[in-house]
Amino acid sequence: MYQEQGVIQEDLDKVVLLDRINLIKWITNFITKTLVIAELEVRKLSHDPTELFTRALQPALWMLVFGEVFSHVRAIPTGNMTYLDFMAPGILAQSVLFVAIFYGISIIWERDLGIVHKFLASPTPRTALVLGKALSAGVRAISQAIIIYLLSLMLSVKLSWAPINLIEILFVVIISAALFSTFSLIIACIVKTRERFMGIGQVLTMPLFFASNAIYPISIMPDWLKAIAHFNPLTYEVDALRTLMIYGGTSLYGLNFDFVFLIISMIILTVIAAIVYPSIAR
């Protein structure tokens, strides 16, 4: 009797051990495959990096024209910050958003070519396919961060150079790009054609941008817009960037809350994306 129980216990232990080994295997496989997909995108980018430079134009215009004008007008209450200090992190967030939000179109393009079919017929986990793409959006976004830092230096924005802040900024930039590119991928899987996506991409980008604290504080918004802004991940991205990037910057919501909000949004979107992604090949 005792012996039997012992055997059962041993079996159970074996099962638990096996499960743990399988889990570790699964996670290792998942991470490896995610990195392979990201590597693929980075290799493509390294063959043709021109897009990184052309993308520098838009943030330059915002900071040099919009930023300069509004600093002189002093129309927007930014506390003890200058307007340029206030908006630089906002423009970084905007650039990250613009890099990421048109990711969906490349998915549709790849579907039209047949590339997606081949990836989906391979044993790669769907979540890894989605997350790998998202990470590569993060890599593109880092190049934007470098450009914004250069522009900020030119315009003598009071940047913070604490190494820990820079590392955290890197994290915020990557996760935000990943988040919005995954959002974009979901939209692409729903609308399925390039034309419809272009329309919807425009319609989504502007409200995301304006219903956030990127270029003006939430406190001056009407109540209905405030409510929307509080559910907008861009708001928390900007809050985190403003805290970390600007010398003496303070967070409105707390850095921890910003990070948690971004990470949870990212997880939810990745799961949804992994579910809808295969439908694009049907």
Binding site: V36, K44, L113, G114, I115, H117, P123
Partner: protein, 269 residues
């Protein structure tokens, strides 16, 4: 031992009211080159998408290497190689990189990777262009690269959807040659084609599909015999079973096919 590597039983796929594949059954033995021919909309591509785990069937089942394409999708994905109808190699990478990414996705150990890639580039006659960007490749070279990509992990079944569509006769012959060599070396091949000539030259058995059904199935020889004309071309056989000439179908095509062909040629520059 079970000789059947691929089994399809009463496979059905409906899109709304439209039945794209209507309860078809067939099986493929190890080492065969099995052809599926039929006009546009016959259900060929839908069947392929089900077998490659991209599309769940409405009813019926399909087994590859004994694994169910729905329940054991990941296992099936490991033992198949798939070349989609569209040009699917990545033009913004080199030939070598295209293979490298897939070697990694299919868990080819890092020690073997380089050798396997170099060997397969050599086998496909692409050694000289290995480090050139794929967008500078010709259509035939891209097709060969795609086949190399699909067989890098030594799949049990290679699935080719219209492998030679849009290729000039020379490129077509070389693709045939490579696929035949793969089959001789033990890879089972399932291919769809528009070209009766291709089915005749390559396939051990041919299934003629029409409106979601298999109208006839057999070796090219048996099919010819079945219409009582041993000297007939497979085109004649097709006409007999479908009631029209395959080529008329091809030249017309539908909007999707036309735009597809144009897009492909644009991509090839």
């Amino acid at each position: 031992m079970n000789k059947k590597i691929l089994e399809v039983k009463n496979l059905t796929k409906k899109f709304g009211d439209v039945t794209a594949v209507d309860s078809i059954s067939f099986s493929i033995d190890k080492g065969e080159i099995f052809g599926v021919v039929g006009p546009n909309g016959a259900g060929k591509t839908t069947t392929i998408k089900i077998l490659t785990t991209l599309l769940p069937p409405t009813s019926g089942e399909a087994l590859i290497g004994g694994y169910n394409v729905v329940k054991n999708a990941t296992k099936v994905r490991r033992i198949i190689g798939y070349v989609p109808q569209l040009l699917s190699a990545d033009g913004n990478l080199t030939g070598y990189e295209n293979l490298l990414i897939f070697a990694k996705l299919y868990d080819i150990p890092s020690k073997e990777r380089k050798k396997r890639i170099i060997d397969s580039l050599h086998f496909m006659g692409l050694t000289d262009v290995a480090h050139k960007m794929v967008k500078s490749f010709s259509g035939g070279m891209i097709r060969r690269l795609e086949i190399a990509q699909a067989v890098l992990h030594n799949p049990k079944v290679l699935i080719l959807d219209e492998p030679t569509v849009g290729l000039d006769p020379g490129a077509r012959d070389s693709v045939w040659e490579y696929v035949k060599t793969l089959a001789i070396n033990g890879t089972t091949v399932l291919m769809t084609t528009h070209y009766m000539e291709e089915a005749d030259a390559m396939c051990s058995r041919v299934a003629i599909m029409n409106r979601g059904n298999i109208a006839a199935l057999g070796t090219p020889h048996d099919l010819k015999k079945s219409i009582g004309d041993n000297g007939a071309s497979l085109n004649k056989v097709f006409e007999y079973y479908i009631g029209k000439d395959l080529d008329s179908e091809v030249s017309e095509g539908n909007f999707k096919d036309v735009s597809r062909t144009r897009r492909d040629s644009r991509r090839l520059g």
